[in-house]
Every structure is written in structure tokens, then in C-alpha cells.
């Protein structure tokens, strides 16, 4: 319908579409703090109040933001910091230190990073003054010198906070929390983590120094809100150059959100994961199908995208196997059925396969043993089978115990979709006793 209409002004569309793609992709990938905070307004208010108190009154604080992946922890803090920096009194008055547990894997690196971000780095990294101990005492001294009213507050943001808790002695955390609880330079320590048991990770004296403020982001929205988010994420902003196109696009999005099949897709997606990141993934896939000849997202696009998202990766691998390899997998399946998940070795699989070959008079599948071995090894490389742990390395390859990493349902599903599957193989798969 609309696509056919638009064919006439193809050229204009090309330009707009590339813009649309750019805007939306940026939105999906960068997690640019969006205008709306979904369901976390309370936490946001708490956080911004806290930061303002640190920035303006010089009050030290510590807080943990806890929530599953993709629940908007980083977005929350970034949004809050952005707003904080827009306050006039504050912007010049606050220092920020961003640390990430995945990057600063030990306290030594973390200290260097802190010094760097506080612009004291020229003193570090020198031979004269570079040891871990010196760095620590340097930072502590620096922070100790300050007092509540005169020093510039420092906001420490510790991403992947739980990883910092694994540092030796939790020295960094102890010292940060200790400073936040003593009359030194005012600091706010903000930890982001997805672990709900984070407090159990902290040593007792570290825990005692932590203020026990926790903010939980739990994706606590329902499906109607999810639908709203979907709509908002896909809509074009009003400042889009071509008003007419933007209007049309947004109208289409509105239509989509009312379409039952789309709602079904979204519901399904919502049931799997509430994380906005997975929604972004879905939308990204759908968006990439938009072309000049197909300028608006349709329900079919979304369905296709959903299918891609929920695809079973191992079944896909099985589709690409040779018939011999399929046969081996079927043999393993039978072994699993017979011996109840006990591990098998190559010889067992080979025997099982030979039985099948002998039953069938025509020996299309009669391969040499080394060839079968090769296929077996290929399966191992694909990690469809893996050796059982604790097996001695020097055991002969034929007798190394293996386990199948495919479930029966997966095998059967994959077989149904397997192109040009010989009938007797398919029959053999359904029953090991098919020759009877």
C-alpha cells in the first residue's frame, strides 16, 4: 500500500531513509539517554538529590544501583550526571571519576586511572614515584587533605562494582567508603552492579562503611508500557528535516503498535526478556530490512526479526552437517537413549552406525573407518560433542569418552528442517529399532 505509493519519489526517500536509519541506530546502540525514564523516576529522583547534595553541600555519600542487565543502570547515572552538570553552580564544582571493573581489574590499575582522571597523572607513572604503595598513599593523602566545605567534590562511578569486590583485601572499596564516611574531601561513591547479592561480597568492615543505600532497577513495567516504549523508540523526532515523511513514519509506527500480530510478536519477546536492550535488538533487525522499495517497517519484518532473535543456534549448525555427520549424531542419540546419558566413545558410535549400515542392504553410507573418525572429530570441533572431564589424555582417540551437547528435541527439530534428508536416515532417527 504505502510502499507502492512511495515508489514514485524514490530519490527523496533514499536520503530520508538513510537519515532514519542513522537516527534510530544511534538510539538503539548508544543508549543515548532518552527523554523518558521508564518506570525509574523514583530512583532517578533519589539519585539526583543525592548527587546534588554531594555537589552543593559537600555531603559524602555512597550508593549502589542494582538491577539486571539492560535495566538502565548506566542510563540512569548518565542521565543524572548530565542533569547535574547542567546546574550552574555544580558544573564547575564537581570532578568525576569513572571506573569499570572490567577495565580496572586490580587496585593498582584502578588507582592509576583515578589519578589520571583527577588530573594528577603527571606525578604517576614515573620511576621515582610509581609503585602501588606510593600511588595509594598519594591518592589517600590527596583526598585526605580536603574538607567538606572547601574541596571540590569527587563523584566516583564504579561500573561492574562486583568485580571491585574481588580485588585483594577490597582495599580500594574500603578506602573509598572510608573517605565517604570521614571528614575528608567530599565524595560520592556510586556502584553499578547486576548482582543482587552484592552486599554479601563486601567484607564486614567494608560493608559497615558503606551507607547501605541501594537502588533497585527491576524493569518493573508491564506489557502496555512496553508497547509504549516500543512506540517511542521507533518514532522519529519532531526535528526530522522532512515533516511529511516523519509524520508518515510515525503514523506507520502507530499502526504497527495497534496491529495484533505485532503485539503478539512483542508479547512473545516481552515474555522472554524485559530488557530494553533485547527490544533494541529486535527493532534493529527489523529496521535493517527497510529499503527504498520497502520504506516502512511492517509486521512481517518484526516477525522475521523475532524469529531471528529466538533462533536456536545449534540447530542451525546441524543444518549444515553432512549426512554422515547427521548419522553419527543419530547414533549418539540412540546411545543416549539406551544408556541414559552415559558418556560414549567413538567405537560405540561407530558400532551403532555400522549396525544401521548393515541393516540397509545398499551401502551408500558405507564409509571407511578413518573417514568416520574424521567426521566424528569434526563434530567435536563444532562442540556438538565434548570429551568428558577427567579423562586421561593418553587414552586412544577411539576410546575417549564423549558427551553429546544436543538435546533430543533439538535433533528431531533439526532433522525435520534438514534439506534432502534421506528417508531411511529419518526413519532411523525416529526409532533405533526401525529394522524390525
Amino acid at each position: 500500500m504505502s510502499s507502492r505509493k512511495s515508489k514514485s519519489n524514490n530519490l527523496i526517500h533514499t536520503e530520508y531513509l538513510s537519515q532514519v536509519q542513522r537516527i534510530l541506530r544511534e538510539r538503539f546502540c548508544n543508549q543515548t539517554s532518552h527523554t523518558n525514564l521508564f518506570g525509574i523516576q523514583v530512583q532517578y529522583k533519589h539519585l539526583i538529590e543525592l548527587l546534588k547534595r554531594t555537589a552543593i553541600h559537600g555531603e559524602s555519600n555512597s550508593v549502589l544501583i542494582i538491577g539486571p542487565r539492560g535495566s538502565g543502570k548506566s542510563m540512569l547515572i548518565n542521565h543524572a550526571l548530565k542533569e547535574l552538570m547542567e546546574v550552574e553552580d555544580v558544573s564547575e564544582n564537581v570532578l568525576q571519576v569513572h571506573l569499570n571493573g572490567l577495565l580496572q581489574i586490580n587496585d593498582k590499575i584502578a588507582l592509576k586511572e583515578i589519578t589520571r582522571q583527577l588530573n594528577l597523572e603527571n606525578v604517576i607513572g614515573d620511576k621515582v614515584f610509581g609503585s602501588f604503595a606510593e600511588n595509594l598513599s598519594f591518592i589517600l593523602e590527596a583526598l585526605k587533605k580536603g574538607d567538606r566545605t572547601n574541596s571540590c567534590p569527587v563523584i566516583f562511578i564504579l561500573d561492574e562494582f562486583d568485580l571491585f569486590a574481588h580485588h585483594r583485601n577490597q582495599t580500594l572499596l574500603y578506602n573509598l567508603f572510608d573517605i565517604s564516611q570521614s571528614a575528608q574531601t567530599p565524595i560520592a561513591v556510586i556502584g553499578l552492579t547486576c548482582r543482587l547479592d552484592i552486599l554479601e561480597l563486601l567484607e564486614k568492615r567494608v560493608k559497615s562503611r558503606f551507607s547501605h543505600r541501594q537502588m533497585h532497577l527491576m524493569n518493573s513495567f508491564g506489557f502496555p508500557q512496553y508497547l509504549k516504549i516500543f512506540k517511542e523508540q521507533l518514532s522519529l523526532p519532531t526535528e526530522f528535516p522532512d515533516k511529511l515523511f516523519a509524520e508518515k513514519w510515525n503514523e506507520n509506527v502507530q499502526c504497527l503498535s495497534e496491529d495484533t500480530s505485532v503485539q503478539e510478536v512483542l508479547q512473545k519477546h516481552f515474555n522472554v526478556s524485559k530488557s530494553l536492550r533485547s527490544l533494541h535488538m529486535l527493532l534493529m533487525l527489523a529496521l535493517s530490512r527497510v529499503t527504498t522499495s520497502h520504506p516502512f517497517i511492517t509486521a512481517a519484518d518484526l516477525m522475521e526479526a523475532n524469529q531471528l532473535c529466538s533462533m536456536d543456534s545449534k540447530a542451525n549448525i546441524v543444518h549444515g552437517l553432512s549426512v554422515l555427520e547427521i548419522c553419527l549424531i543419530i547414533a549418539m542419540k540412540h546411545l543416549n537413549d539406551i544408556y541414559e546419558e552415559e558418556p560414549f566413545n567413538f567405537q560405540m558410535v561407530y558400532n551403532e552406525f555400522q549396525k544401521f549400515v548393515q541393516r540397509k542392504a545398499h551401502s551408500v553410507y558405507n564409509f571407511e573407518k578413518p573417514v568416520v573418525m574424521k567426521a566424528f572429530e569434526h563434530l567435536q570441533q563444532l562442540e556438538l560433542i565434548r570429551p568428558v572431564e577427567r579423562t586421561s589424555v593418553n587414552a586412544q582417540r577411539e576410546y575417549q569418552l564423549m558427551k553429546l551437547l544436543l538435546d533430543n528435541t533439538q535433533i528431531m527439530n533439526a532433522l525435520q528442517k534438514y534439506p534432502n534428508c534421506p528417508t531411511d536416515v529419518r526413519q532411523w532417527a525416529t526409532s533405533s529399532l526401525s529394522w524390525l
Binding site: 553541600h57 564547575e92 614515573d126 590527596a142 566545605t149 543505600r213 518493573s220 526478556s273 529466538s310 538435546d407
Partner: protein, 872 residues
């Protein structure tokens, strides 16, 4: 330097007067005077070497007072090339408050003190000199002459070396005294400009002259008839004049004699390694001697003075013969040695006074050794480290280019100082020096930094005689003293605006209460313990245990605070208080480094520090005052060999150590549990344990903090006290809950009517802080995640185990979906769900490389999961 530009407002212009005296070896040029022209060129002041000057500092009211020793141009400093070396004087107000009482009387307004601190940086930017000033030396008991009491005159009676006030040493006094009295004479004499050598009329100040001459002759290996101007004499000369004092005659005989001395060649060697710091030497001799050679020669001279008592015996003989001629100095000339020694000393402050007794020789050596000890470390620094330090200094300056540059500067100086590597003591008589160094208190440098003398720069090198051993440092000494600091805020922190905000402020853990309620007994015990040790002049250990947040550290701090006050009031002997925290160390052995640094300001490696400390604590008489050492978080000092703990508890057992150790840890039975017998035994049985606060105590703590604030309902306080006491008895927790409650109260009410915090607010805060989030997390998870949890429960029930493989759970999951008519998930989706739950730690899962075989466990009880899943 960068900040030079910031202070350009009404700067006068500075220019050299006279031609430079280039030193070929040292690559910079020295000058004898400098002219300062104020902004419009209206007034021009000339400043000579040797004059007393005012140096701009932080405080415009009280500029620093110093004596100019040398002016030179240093190309290695990128911005301010005009440098000056000075001898500082210190005002009473610049002395740190804690030490002011040492004077024991009220200082006069115009009184300043000879600053006898070799660690102080004497190399300054010449452009900070703001003008000349008059300084008059007085005997300690003399009354300040009232008629001279004007702004620009200062009086010196005592010297201050950061430890105590001392009367000016006689030679110093005479030297200063000479300066002011001798000036007219000098002035007269300069007209004569006599070239007389060997003039018999030499009367005063022979010593330096002779010394200088001696130097000349030795370095040149033949006698040059020179006539020299003593630096002292020049000091008072008016601008433009190149005076020659009458008393600067040179005895040819002397020089000759010294030439003949057997050690001459050695002197030569010495002269070749003269350091630039030598240049602070009297410039006077340059008038007639070949200019470039001068500094070098000076160095050589000094060298010879220092080392060659024997060698110059003959020359001394000659000097002695000359004695009667010296009129102005009250020298008893039997001492042959002293002229030279004294002369050496006088190279900073050219002295006229000869030491009266032979015994003095030893004395003269001591300050010098001390000087050496303190200054060597900085001097020997490698070239590279010098460069680095310079860079660091500059960058630090860039860092905070704000108006209080100077202050910053001082700090950065200090900082650099602190990061300098430990001093390698290379000197010959290192034995003695080490002793000296060890006993140098940590304070001098630090305190100095507070005063922050030289605004720009720099290097306050040893204000003393440049040491006898010339070092190869191509530059003046590098700075000391600076503390890293977070920059201060531009906008003042806002004070509390409402009752709630005020309450929040006083409820913050960092707010130090006036007294510590509920810990009176513990306080008294610790106080008595430490006080008795102080009074007995012995040492001892005390072990303090208690769960976190029971006020252990706070109580000890309070005790120390009180004891310090008592020491101030002379109720207890003075002591040194050092604090280390196991958590603030990277490694147990670092504790030695920290203790040493806090005790003496030295930096050393862990092993070396341990040795030094052991030496200090085990050598009788090494410590004058008792040291109180607080070791917080003791358990972290545990090592395999327990040598750290052993040492910490072993030192106090030595009588001469006079060390009191207060060790703090969390566990009561730490000594029994982790310590070897020999360590535990040394720790002794002076134990104290802090019990967790009861609810009454917590209530009292809260009440005392909220004494005058009507911010909380009484019931609310009781509630939180009971809640926290039941959970942990941690006072920090209690305060945090209350603080959070004020916030809730604030946000729940409309602004402008902040009422008291009620029970409801507190309950909410308690709930927020203590409730676990597992149940809400499960309730808010997606349908598939919840189903996965159900499947796990079903699998557990089926197998009767608390653990299942992913494959088993997946099958259950598929079954479950089939039963409920839901689309069942693919393996990949289920895996994603599983790892998501694992990341939240609702589940404990193996790493996902195990794939289907990874084992899954619940991290919370099955009951909780069921409860959370049911409520829908």
C-alpha cells in the same frame, strides 16, 4: 613558569646590573646586583648580593624576609630565568602554631628568626624579591631598640630550626652584627678601592679574606696578588659601587704556605666537581680575580677547609701570627684550625668571628654534618630524576592555575619531596650523618611547606653552607614539600538550610561529635593506659577488638586528642602520634615505610625502613619522646612468617624504644587464632573489647547528635535504635538509616514544611536498607525467567537434589510450557535466560562453556522462590 603570567598585574621589571660573571663549568651566569624598576619606571631600586630583602609570599602583609646570597641566571628554568639564592628568616607567625609555644615568651612585632633549616629551599625566583629591608642582629637578652622600630627594620635574636629556638651562634651573630655596623666603614673603604695587597692595615674579617685568597692561590698553583672584597663587606655597599674593603687584604704568605701544603692536588680534584650550589659563595672575590673561575675556586676553598685541617696547618700558623692585627673580632687565636673552619661556615654568612676554642672545632663539624645529612639526599639525585621532578613540578603548576598559585606551589614542592627516593647517603662520615638524619624530626619540611616560602619556585636549597663535598648536580636543589590535593571548589559549599538538613549534617558519620557517648569506660581505660606509659617513659601494647562500627578508632582518636592537649598543658610529656591502617597498605611490609615516613619524613624501601626502625627502637637514647602508634585493621598485617606483627609488638618491649602500640582489629580472639605464640606473647594481655552498642546506647548516641534539633520523633529514634541493635549494633548503620529517613521525610512532604521524621519514614528507610531484593527481582522478571525458576523447582523436586544440569531443567521447562500452552523456548533462549538469572545471582551457575551440562543451583531458598512466584 606558567603562573608567572598570572601575577603580572603590577609587576616591576627586573634587570641585572653589571656584567655577568660567567661560569664556564656551570653554564650559568652570576650577577652581583639587580635593579628593580617599578611599573612606570618611576622608581628604581638596586639590590645587591648580601642585602636583606623582602620576598613576596602568600601573605602580602608579611612578605618573607631573607638575605640575598647570590643572584644568577638559570637557563634551565623555562620561564623565570632570574634566580636568587637566599638565606631565609622566619617570622613568628610563620612558625607552625603547635611549635610557637617553644619560644616561651611573647615575640616582638618586628622580631624574626634566623631560619636554620637546611631542608628549606633557598633557591627562588629573583623576580619575587620586592625590595630591601634592614635586619639587625641582637644578643638574646638585648632589648629591641625602640628608635628603630619602623616597618622596614627587623631584629634577629634567635635562630629557629623547626625544633627549637636557639641563640644565634656567635659567628653568625657577629656576622649579622657586623653587617649593620660595618656598612659605613665599608662604604668609606670602597672609595679607596685600593689595590693593596698584603696591606698590614687589614683589621677585621680577616678570615674570609684569607680564606678566599688561599683558595685563589691554591687553585692557580701560583700566587696571584689579589685583593678581594669580602662578601660581608659588600653587603652594605650602595648600588653601583664596587667596593673593596680595607680589611680584605691578602696575605701572600698565607697563600704561599697553603700552596706548599701537601694536599694541594687533592684540592684541585675537589674543585673540579664543584657543584653550582657552590656559587652561593661570596661574589666579592670576583672583583679582581678572573671572574669565571670564581665559583669554582670557592668550592675548592671550601673543600680545602673541610678536609684539610692537617694540610693547612702551616697556613694557620701564619694566620695565628697575624692575630694581633685582627681588631674587631674577639678571637682567641690559639686555635689554628678554626679560622678555616669558621671561614667555611661563613661562606653562607660570611662570618668574621673566629671560634675561640679548639673544642669548638668539633662543634663546628656537627652542624655541618647535619647540614650534609639533610641535604645530600637531594643533591645526589640522579639527573634523570631531577628532570622528572622538574617536569612534575611544572605540570603540577599547570594543574591548578589559580590565584593561590603560591600555596599550590609550596604544596607541589612538598609533594615532590615526598616522592623522592630514599636518600642514599654517600658521604664519608655517613655514620654520624645517618644518626643525624634519623633524629631529624619529620616536621621541618612539612611545616615549612605550610609556610610556603618561595612563591615560584622552587628550590629552596639548603640555606646553609653548601656542603663541603661538592656534588655533580648541575642544578640547584630540587624542591621539597608539597601535598597532593584535590582542587578546591570554586563555589563555597552551601550550609544547611532547614532543620532536616542540619540534622542530616550532624547525623553523617563523618561529623565528629564533641564527646563519644557510651564509650566513657573504654575511653578512660585507653587513656589511662597510654598516659601511664607516657608518664613512666616506657612502652607497651594494647589490643582493642570489636565488630565494625562500635567506635574503636573514634575512641582512640579521642584519647589521642585529649592526650595531645594534656601534653600541651605539660601534664604529660610530649609524644609523637602515628597512625597506620592495614587496609590502607598495599602489602603488610609497607607498614614499615609508613611508620618511618610519619616518624622522620624519610622514604625508604620496606626492608630498609624496617632496619632503620629497628635501629631506632633498639638503640638506647635514640628517641627523645615517646611514640604512640595506632595500628588499625591489624589482621591485615598478617604474613606467613608474621614478622610484621612480631616486630610491631617486639619493639615496645625494648626499654629504650618508648613505643606504645595500640592495635585494633575486629575479632576478639585474633591473637589466639592467627598469631604464633611468640607474637601473641609479645602482644601481652592488655586487651579491650568493644561490645556492639545496645539499643539504649544507640538511642543515646542519636540523642546526643540531635541534641538541639527537633528533627526526629522520640519514638522514631527508639525504633531505629532497636532495629539496628537487633541486627548488628553498628552505629554507622544507625546513623545512615536516620539520614535516609530525613531524606524520605523531606521528599514526602511538600517543601517548606519539614516536620519531624516520623516512625513511618524510619520504617521505610529501614526497609529500604535491610530488605533483600530477591523477591522483588523474581516478581519483576519476565515470564520465561519465572518459568525457568519453576522448572528448576520441579526438577529439584523430581530428583530430590538441590542441583540440576541445564539439560534437565530445560526438559522440565519444555514440559511446563506444554502444560500451560505456552510456546516453548529454544535452547538458545533458555540458555540466555539461565545466564541472565545467573548474572543476578538468583541462580548459581557454572560457566556457560559447559553448555547443556552446566549445573544450576538456586541462590535463595526454594520457599522464597515459591512465595515470589505465587503472588501474581
Amino acid at each position: 613558569m606558567a603562573h608567572c603570567t598570572t601575577r603580572l598585574r603590577s609587576r616591576p621589571t627586573y634587570s641585572w646590573v653589571g656584567s655577568p660573571l660567567l661560569d664556564q663549568k656551570l653554564l650559568y651566569q652570576t650577577y652581583k646586583e639587580m635593579s628593580v624598576t617599578s611599573k612606570g619606571g618611576s622608581t628604581e631600586t638596586r639590590i645587591h648580593v648580601g642585602q636583606f630583602v623582602l620576598v613576596e609570599g602568600n601573605d602580602d602583609e608579611n612578605p618573607y624576609v631573607a638575605k640575598l646570597i647570590e643572584l644568577f641566571e638559570d637557563d634551565s628554568e623555562p620561564y623565570c630565568k632570574k634566580r636568587a639564592r637566599v638565606q631565609w628568616f622566619i617570622r613568628f607567625c610563620e612558625i607552625s602554631v603547635s611549635k610557637q609555644h617553644l619560644l616561651g615568651r611573647k615575640p616582638d612585632e618586628q622580631e624574626i628568626f634566623w631560619y636554620d633549616c637546611p631542608a628549606c629551599n633557598s633557591n627562588i625566583d629573583a623576580e619575587t624579591i620586592s625590595g630591601p629591608v634592614q635586619v639587625i642582629a641582637l644578643a638574646p637578652h638585648e632589648v629591641l631598640p625602640t628608635e628603630l622600630k619602623n616597618e622596614k627594620t627587623f631584629f634577629v635574636k634567635l635562630s629557629w630550626n623547626e625544633k627549637n629556638f636557639k641563640p644565634l651562634s656567635p659567628e653568625l651573630f657577629a656576622e649579622l652584627d657586623k653587617l649593620q655596623e660595618g656598612s659605613p666603614r665599608c662604604r668609606e673603604s670602597m672609595e679607596t678601592k685600593n689595590r693593596s695587597i698584603n696591606s698590614p692595615s687589614r683589621t677585621t674579617a680577616k678570615r674570609s679574606v684569607e680564606r678566599i685568597e688561599l683558595r685563589h692561590s691554591t687553585s692557580k698553583s701560583h700566587q696571584i696578588p689579589t685583593h678581594l672584597v669580602t662578601p660581608r663587606a659588600r653587603k652594605r655597599l650602595e648600588l653601583g659601587s664596587l667596593p673593596v674593603t680595607p680589611n680584605t687584604g691578602i696575605s701572600q704568605e698565607t697563600s704561599q704556605v697553603s700552596l706548599d701544603s701537601p694536599r694541594r692536588s687533592k684540592r684541585k680534584v675537589a674543585s673540579e666537581i664543584t657543584s653550582p650550589s657552590k656559587k652561593s659563595q661570596p661574589d666579592g672575590l670576583q672583583t679582581s680575580s678572573p671572574a669565571p673561575k670564581a665559583p669554582e675556586e670557592t668550592g675548592e676553598m671550601r673543600r680545602s677547609c673541610a678536609e684539610q685541617d692537617e694540610a693547612s696547618r702551616e697556613s694557620r700558623m701564619v694566620l695565628r701570627a697575624r692575630v694581633p692585627a685582627l681588631k674587631t673580632t674577639e678571637i682567641s687565636q690559639e686555635i689554628t684550625l678554626d679560622p678555616i673552619r669558621g671561614g667555611k661556615r661563613s661562606s653562607v654568612v660570611p662570618s668574621v668571628v673566629l671560634k675561640p676554642e679548639v673544642i669548638r672545632k668539633r662543634e663546628a663539624q656537627t652542624p655541618e654534618a647535619q647540614d650534609e645529612a639533610v641535604s645530600t639526599p637531594h643533591r645526589i639525585r640522579r639527573k634523570t630524576s631531577l628532570l622528572t621532578l622538574k617536569r612534575i613540578r611544572q605540570q603540577l603548576r599547570f594543574l591548578d592555575n589559580r590565584k593561590n598559585d603560591q600555596e599550590e606551589e609550596g604544596k607541589s614542592d612538598k609533594e615532590e619531596e615526598e616522592f623522592l627516593p630514599a636518600a642514599e647517603i654517600t658521604d664519608s662520615d655517613s655514620e654520624e650523618e645517618e644518626e643525624e638524619e634519623a633524629s631529624t624530626p619529620p616536621l621541618p619540611r612539612r611545616m615549612r611547606s605550610c609556610v610556603s616560602r618561595s612563591p615560584h619556585s622552587a628550590t629552596k636549597s639548603s640555606s646553609h653552607t653548601p656542603s663541603k663535598t661538592p656534588k655533580k648536580t648541575p642544578k640547584p636543589r630540587t624542591p621539597h614539600s608539597a601535598t597532593p590535593q584535590i582542587r578546591s571548589r570554586n563555589l563555597a559549599a552551601r550550609g544547611p538550610a532547614s532543620v532536616l538538613e542540619e540534622a542530616r549534617l550532624s547525623l553523617h558519620v563523618s561529623a565528629v561529635p564533641d564527646s563519644l557517648p557510651c564509650r566513657e569506660k573504654e575511653f578512660q581505660d585507653i587513656y589511662n593506659f597510654v598516659e601511664s606509659k607516657l608518664l613512666d617513659r616506657t612502652g607497651g601494647c594494647m589490643y582493642i577488638s570489636g565488630v565494625p562500627g562500635t567506635g574503636k578508632t573514634a575512641t582512640v582518636h579521642e584519647v589521642m586528642h585529649c592526650l595531645r592537649q594534656a601534653a600541651h598543658a605539660n601534664d604529660v610529656p610530649p609524644f609523637q602520634y602515628i597512625e597506620v591502617n592495614g587496609m590502607k597498605l598495599t602489602e603488610p611490609h609497607q607498614v614499615y615505610v609508613q611508620i618511618l615516613q610519619k616518624m622522620t619524613g624519610q622514604k625508604a624501601t620496606a626492608n630498609h625502613a624496617a632496619e632503620l626502625l629497628a635501629k631506632r627502637f633498639r638503640t638506647p637514647g635514640s628517641s627523645q619522646e615517646t611514640t604512640v602508634l595506632l595500628v588499625d585493621e591489624l589482621d591485615l598485617l598478617w604474613t606467613q612468617k608474621q614478622d610484621v606483627m612480631y616486630n610491631l609488638f617486639d619493639w615496645p618491649t625494648h626499654k629504650e624504644a618508648r613505643l606504645v602500640v595500640l592495635a585494633i582489629a575486629n575479632t576478639m580472639d585474633l591473637p589466639e587464632r592467627i598469631m604464633m605464640n611468640r607474637v601473641a606473647s609479645r602482644l601481652g594481655f592488655t586487651r579491650m573489647s568493644f561490645q556492639p552498642y545496645t539499643y539504649r546506647q544507640l538511642q543515646q548516641i542519636l540523642m546526643s547528635r540531635l541534641k538541639h534539633l527537633k528533627a526526629f520523633e522520640d519514638d522514631a529514634i527508639q525504633l531505629v535504635a532497636r532495629k539496628v541493635a537487633a541486627l548488628s549494633g553498628d552505629a554507622r548503620r544507625c546513623l545512615d538509616v536516620c539520614r535516609r529517613a530525613t531524606e524520605i521525610c523531606e521528599s514526602s512532604r511538600e517543601p517548606g514544611s519539614p516536620g519531624p521524621v516520623t516512625v513511618a519514614h524510619l520504617l521505610k528507610a529501614v526497609d529500604e536498607m535491610f530488605s533483600s531484593a530477591y523477591i522483588t527481582a523474581i516478581k519483576n522478571s519476565s515470564v520465561m525467567e519465572q518459568n525457568f525458576l519453576r522448572a528448576i523447582l520441579a526438577e529439584f523436586r523430581r530428583s530430590g537434589l538441590e542441583e540440576a544440569t541445564f539439560q534437565q531443567v530445560y526438559r522440565q521447562h519444555v514440559e511446563l510450557c506444554r502444560m500451560e500452552g505456552l510456546p516453548y523456548p529454544t535452547m538458545s533462549e533458555a540458555m540466555a535466560v539461565c545466564s541472565r538469572l545467573g548474572a543476578c545471582r538468583l541462580l548459581l551457575v557454572e560457566p556457560s562453556r559447559h553448555d547443556l551440562l552446566l549445573r544450576v543451583r538456586l541462590n535463595i531458598s526454594q520457599g522464597d522462590v515459591l512465595f515470589a512466584l505465587k503472588e501474581e
